[in-house]
Amino acid sequence: MYKRVLGIVLAIALIISVAACSSSEEPKDTTKQEAEDNTTKQGPIKVSVGLPEIVNAKFAPGEDYSNNLWTKLFKEKFNIDVEVDWVTTEYDTKINLAIASGELPDMFTVNIVQLNQLMEAGMLEDLTSSYEQYASPSLKEMIEPNRDIVETAMHDGKLMAIPRLHYGDETSTSFLWARKDWLEGNGIKEVKTIEDFENMMEAFKTNNGAKFGTMLDKTLGAFFEMASSFHAYPKIWVDGPDGKIVYGATLPETKNALAKWAEWYKKGYINKDFATMDSAAMLRDAYNGEVGTYAQQNWAGWQVGADMVKNEGDGTYFVSMNLPSVDSDKILYPRQFSNSVYSVVRKGYEHPEVLVELINTYIDVLDDSIGNGTMTLEEVLPFNTNDMHHITGPFKVEFAHYQDIKDVSSSIITGKENLGSGNAVLFYNEILKWKNGGDLVGLGRYLQMGHETASLVLGISHVDNDQIKKTKVWGAMPQAMLDYGTTLDDLLIEGYTKIIMGVEDISYYDTLIEAWRHAGGNEVTEAVNKMYGKK
């Protein structure tokens, strides 16, 4: 009996080790074969990609990342076979490992740190001529105005990556969001000064039974979004009084903002548990009708829109307003460097132009096809719903919606349909779903661009009025900054939290900034000035 058990154990051990050996050898064989296929046959072009997993993507039955409406379109149009090497939720880590092991897919996306590493190591294919030759007018129209971003994708005068771009400056500003029914009940139209804001919080408490004044969570998100009201820019790098670049947090405006928030905490305007609450816990106070306002970005309607209506009833969703100002001076909104993704081609891949062609197609389908009549709205919709417009990995750009927002909002407000792009048509129809049918699916979009003070409509006016303040670190971060990770900001957030909670007096701010400088703030400031300062 004993011997038999031993025999079985040994046999299993053998099988496992044999299986491990053979499975590790398999992929090598197939890659060899593929390489041969590519060179010997004049068949379809094969391009392998690695993709981040899009959690909310809903594929049609029988479809997946390697077989879907996009891959079918690419095959049909260019006879290109997109092969998915891997799909992962840990995309950055996976790419780092792929870089280290040298087993890169033909095309993939990287962040700016990885881009710089790959460019230095000469592991990327030059895209300059592919871009010149193949980029469609639409793509060029999107890329050209963003010279500053293109710069970050250049190495020795050659274009090494196609930047994904960003949604546009109008999407980066902050707003005061407040509950619609409470605003109307108290007859509040605008919140111009901090004093107005305090009066509003007071009114919500006395007239509407709110328990707190404003929302805040442990990341201090609402504090940072509202910092502009005090002309403070605690998260970006700005020109200091002596002409050198300094971190916004070190300037006295941040201190003033903190003093105000500490006062609000003392008055009971803020949940005493905020320091341990994540955003979900914070929002629960709103869903329970205990708080009716906070500062947040343009997409807050997706947070406190449909879920508010579901919990508290009709008309309880939040609407956006311009931030109040501590004095009557114009408010500026901080802007971080915002191209986080670059599409690149592995060095040695024969068809770098495929990347440009497929990005062209992406733009064509989503933005141009309805306008130029090659596709109908019904045909485009599947490409743009269920997150299908996020699954293409490297074959993707982010659309700046400046014109779309103008078109959609004026069409909705005036009732005269005047839409220039496919994206605009999609947004417009989404909003109509809410306006005409009360379908909550369209509420978030409605709050972004469906009425006169909708967030992005205000965002457009911020851009038009020159209210965008760009960080001085526009592009890659200096190494010293990367070395400290988030620890320097963490130090500040810990200190801010203590000040707001009254654990430390406001005078502690100066100690805090001194500690920050000592902990590495000085070193980073120097590195920033070396890289971006006036020469």
Partner: protein
Amino acid sequence: MQSLLFTLRKQWQYHVLLIPAVVLIFIFNYIPLYGLIIAFQRYNPSMGFQSPWVGLDNFTRVFSQPNFVQTIWNTLFIAGFQIIGGIIVPVVFSLLLNEVRKVSAKRVFQTIIYLPYFLSWVILAGVMIDILSREGIMNTFLSLFNIGPISFLGDPKTFRWTMIVSEIWKSFGFGTVIFLAALTSIDPGLYESAIVDGAKRWKQTWYITIPSIMPIIVLMTILSLGNLLNAGFDQIYNLYSPIVYSTGDIIDTYVYRLGIQQAQYSVGTAVGMFKALIAAFMILTSYYLADRFAGYRVL
């Protein structure tokens, strides 16, 4: 030499049986040791192990961070009490459970206390934040006795005790099962003769039960001492917030914010190596002490 050959000839089958395990450990635990050189380089994934050498730069960088020493202390404090509690509580519980006569009740208890061990901290953290909030069940209960409200997760003074107690609560079921197994292996004859000698329950426990499971207790302690610098990343990361950094920030969470998010592998490896060296030292010391004071040895 002669005797070694002799034993080998006599026991060669057993050594053959060991081979798969040794091979696996060699492949997965020894070969990767090569990667430790990253700790002495400014590692760039695209250059691999050919990255530039920087000597002890990464170590000095981490240790010169003003908060790092504090995080070591926090780690030792939290992990130390978790280890002590993680031995005492299961021992006491297994002794108590052993006295339960009804087998079915014993099984039910055992299962219930074992259950949290299988839950992920990600899930438990969500539950705990709710229970321990200012208006949560815990504070509502305490207010009946006019205590509180206590900010279990938001006060630097209480935070680490919350971490210690909750970790012990979560994992003591596992230890209890091990000690219960050890208890069943005690020769009943010992108790019988003790009863003949007139020993009551307490004396039986003190002079028979505890000495009998002592080797297991020592073994568990030695094994857990290797974790002295692991205060539980999952738990802390899911429960802490900036306000409790001063007492709740441990080495792992600090390094995570320092570098792993930005793929700064060298720093991560340097700290990992530092922790491994300390752990190895702790295990060797405790093994020596166990041999010295409890007469316990593995070899």
